[in-house]
């Protein structure tokens, strides 16, 4: 499932841009591949991070995967509900399963992201 209006990475993260705040999470394809999540390691608020660098870790019972930041920015908020309910990522990856919010510090980092249509085309090649 791909949601219109969001931007995507080749590593299957999504980003929702509202002004200079970017909300991010993992796309449906990624949560499907990982299976039922048992743990999400969240970043620290205040951490500065470059686009495509590791920002979080998601663990299922049989796999663990790194989550990369879609943009360059500073972490302003994390979804702490995931510490006790990691399964929210499986149930509702684009809404309740968001991972964190970043204040974007380099707008050019948005240029490398795909829109919904391009991401769907990319998924079709996998």
């Amino acid at each position: 499932m791909v949601v219109e209006g969001l931007l995507y990475t080749k590593d299957h993260e999504w980003a929702k841009v509202e002004g200079d705040i970017v909300t991010m999470g993992i796309a449906d394809y990624a949560q499907e591949q990982l299976g039922e999540l048992v743990f999400v390691e969240l970043p620290e608020v205040g951490r500065e991070i470059a686009a495509r660098k590791e920002i979080a870790v998601v663990e299922s019972s049989k796999a663990a995967g790194d989550v990369y930041s879609p943009v360059t920015g500073t972490v302003t908020e994390v979804n702490s509900e995931l510490t006790t309910k990691p399964e929210l990522v499986n149930e509702d990856c684009y809404e309740g399963g968001w991972i964190c919010k970043l204040k974007i510090t380099d707008k050019t980092s948005l240029d490398n992201l795909m829109d919904a249509q391009k991401y769907q085309e990319y998924l079709d090649t996998l």
């Binding site: 048992v38 743990f39 390691e41 870790v57 663990e59 299922s60 019972s61 049989k62 796999a63 663990a64 790194d66």
Partner: protein
């Protein structure tokens, strides 16, 4: 376990089955990497092997009276320990590849973890590591992962063998390893606090420390936590029968050598590293962890849990490259602790302390022999300063049938005349008296 060789004939049959020659089978190995010869001596008959091994074993001095400690200890091992661990179900088992199929092995490890948690008063334990030194190294790496920092402060009252191991493990890593120098028998507060900054991941200390002195690290735990660092404590498990637990001091990760829990002293092991931590850090802990759950029919069952920390799943991001544990040694420790019970462990620890205290008084009565850290409490080891070189005195006492102690000059500057003496519950008043007489006669 029986050795099952394959004969020349079987090899030929197998090659015929897959349609290859031996050279063809190994064609992928470049010629220059193939061994020309293994340079093995001719085989020996069983009788010849026995004679040869007996001759080698005869070089060991097994009848010395042991006052030697320094990390490995001569405690009494009840015969029941061997009887129980020698059951073939336990004795031949390696870390199982289909772990949940081996419920007995998993239960034993689970019970071991529970025992280590009770002993250290910590919340989580792993399934064990190789030995006290590697456990300390793993704890240090865990602290680096938890804090995201790369500086570690370690006091030199920590077992020097562990410190050598940590140095060799970290030689090619970007880790700032800062050693502080113990001068008065306790971890050097002034130096540690001076080096403790917001780049420090951990303070590593030991209790009782290598000189046998008992410390309380509550102050260091508070100081470390105030700077966002962790306190790592290595401890001697038998001493926990009577001493304040590392948990009560505020330690974040506790490790130690488990040899004293029912394993004999032997050069090179196998030994047992244990590790316990606060629950909040469990996902950063290395090694296997067994958990309790229920099966489909609601029965109690055991599983390997939190495996996403491990290298077969997390690959290069794994918490450690350890993928095994010291299952038989962990079982030994569990059986030993179960046989002693809480009361027995306390009595054993108290006897060690009482006998060491008596031995220290007895030896200090000899002219020229001085306890080095007079004002310190000690558990079952203490340092004495002699009027002459300790290594020389120790060599003379070996001729008289005593492994009298450890020469501290081997690892510490300015301690040429200092000897570390250990007394376990196995030493008798008579043996202590004989050591005192022998020492007096060689000084």
């Amino acid at each position: 376990m029986e050795f099952v060789p394959h004969t020349e004939q079987q090899q030929q049959e197998m090659l015929a089955e897959i349609g290859l020659t031996m050279d063809g089978l190994f064609a992928d190995i470049p010629a220059h990497l193939k061994a020309k010869s293994f340079n093995l001596p001719a085989g020996l008959s069983e009788m010849e092997v026995r004679n040869r091994l007996a001759e080698l074993a005869g070089k060991n001095s097994i009848d010395l009276t042991l006052f030697l400690g320094g990390g490995f200890y001569d405690h009494f091992i009840p015969s029941a320990v061997y009887s129980i661990i020698s059951r073939s179900e336990f004795y031949t088992a390696y870390t199982p590849y289909q772990p949940e199929l081996s419920q007995g092995t998993l239960q034993a490890i689970y019970e071991y973890q529970s025992a280590i948690c009770r002993l250290t008063d910590m919340e989580v334990s792993n399934a064990s590591l190789y030995d006290g030194g590697t456990a300390m190294y793993e704890a240090m790496m865990m602290a680096l992962r938890i804090t995201g920092r790369n500086k570690v402060i370690i006091d030199d009252s920590v077992n020097p063998i562990y410190r050598v191991m940590i140095r060799s493990y970290t030689r090619n890593l970007q880790i700032d390893l800062d050693e502080t120098r113990c001068t008065n028998g306790l971890a050097n507060r002034a130096e540690i606090l001076d080096k403790l900054d917001d780049q420090a991941a951990a303070i590593i200390v030991q209790n009782p420390n290598f000189f046998g002195c008992i410390d309380d690290f509550t102050d260091l735990a508070k100081a470390a936590h105030a700077k966002g660092a962790l306190l790592l404590v290595s401890c001697y498990p038998i001493s926990l029968g009577i001493l304040k637990t590392p948990s009560a001091m505020g330690a974040d990760i506790v490790t130690g050598e488990g040899q004293s829990l029912g394993m004999p002293m032997s050069f090179g092991g196998p030994y047992l590293g244990f590790m316990a931590a606060r629950k909040e850090h469990v996902r950063k802990m290395p090694g296997r962890v067994v958990g309790e759950t229920t099966d489909r029919e609601g029965r109690r069952a055991f599983v390997l849990t939190l495996q996403a920390r491990e290298q077969h799943i997390r690959r290069d991001k794994a918490t450690s490259n350890i993928c095994s544990n010291e299952a038989l040694c962990a079982l030994t420790a569990l059986v030993y602790l179960s046989l002693l019970g809480k009361k027995g462990l306390k009595e054993t620890a108290q006897r060690c302390a009482d006998k060491a205290s008596y031995a220290c008084q007895r030896l200090a009565a000899i002219a020229g022999v001085q306890p080095r850290f007079k004002t310190r409490w000690f558990f079952n080891e203490f340092v004495v300063d002699l009027p002459r070189e300790a290594a020389d005195v120790i060599a003379r006492l070996i001729e008289r049938g005593f492994a009298a102690g450890f020469p501290l000059s081997r690892y510490y500057e300015g301690m040429e005349n200092s000897m570390l003496i250990c007394v376990t519950e196995k030493r008798t008043k008579q043996e202590i008296g004989m050591l005192a007489e022998a020492l007096e006669s060689v000084l």
